[in-house]
Symmetry: C2
Subunit: 198 residues, 2 copies
Amino acid sequence: MARRTDSRRRILESAAELFHTQGYHATGLNQVVTASGAPKGSLYFHFPGGKEQLAAEALRMSGGDLRDVLSQAVAGAPDAASAVGAVMDLLIGLLTTSAFQRGCPLAAVTLDAAADSEPIRLACAEGYDSWRTVLADFFTERGLAADRAGALAIVVLASIEGGLLLAKAGHDTAPLRAVADHLHTTIESEFTRCASTT
Amino acid sequence: MARRTDSRRRILESAAELFHTQGYHATGLNQVVTASGAPKGSLYFHFPGGKEQLAAEALRMSGGDLRDVLSQAVAGAPDAASAVGAVMDLLIGLLTTSAFQRGCPLAAVTLDAAADSEPIRLACAEGYDSWRTVLADFFTERGLAADRAGALAIVVLASIEGGLLLAKAGHDTAPLRAVADHLHTTIESEFTRCASTT
DNA sequence: AACTAACTAGACCGGTCGTCATAGTTGGGT
DNA sequence: ACCCAACTATGACGACCGGTCTAGTTAGTT
């Protein structure tokens, strides 16, 4: 039978937003229900697995969304260094316009629920991996050797994640800007070295 | 008047441990009480500010402890690159021996409570800043210009934090090892450049 | 109309944080 | 030696909110 309401979608979106900014345990189901405007009972109809299932699906959605944003931001860039620069600008904007609330949509949940729930941990891991893959593929596409590109993608991702964490703690984007600078020079030197050896 | 029990210390240690591995909201006060073996009432005697005060003090303690470990690990190293390498080995060991539970002692709380509570956020920020300072001072001591050293310290800290996050998500130390490799070469090149310009 | 799938409201139990009246301990004053 | 005031410590208690589930209602299909 056809779907009669959009409750499911609304619940998922609200949940993704709340898990993003607050983490798993800090987010109550009542809060999700209120924020989404959906009726309480619908929650266990659409997500019989309860909070855990809801979180896993919300995280998959968040991960996929950011993956798309990432690949789009990266696709149009003239070179690798400015591609990463564009991503950094985007994230800095996201963080500041939300008063340092919205950093990485998976990080908070990763740290406060990954140990409790394997499905949730896997959803997070898949998200990170998809972002890493986008970066690695992009670097490879632009001429870097596969192993080099893979390692660089991890470093880029890790330092961005750490930068977001430090920025959130200090209410200051300086860490992100420092990371952006560093990544810029790192990527440029990596690519020029690669060009000179080919 | 002299203290008659060590309840306060035990509560603080248990709390630090639990906040470290679970974050703020996932950690219940009853859990802290049980783990510490201290009576419930003692909690609000020693920490009249409740959970918030307990967390702030526990985080300050964790931050200070890691700061000491850090400066000690760094002090005996022959050069900057191997100093950071030693720190990485230490963190990788901590993470694996705890089955990917113990990463950064502040990160989980930063992400799930910094938005709610300013005292907690500040305790986290101070912790990160103390670590950053240890690194920056060390780099300066070893001959790097102050601004260079500061930026490098931030990048080192951020990429380690991000590496810990990714490692925890994936149950895999590869991100940390990739970060370690990258930092090694980065620091070496930074220092040789500095040596050549002096 | 009868049936079935889609959906919803509210009750439930367990655990949360925080409070309070009470008990125990200590050291100074007499 | 005794006592009292101040300090330290405690666990039972309660108001409340958490996630979960069952019993019921609505809407579409045949």
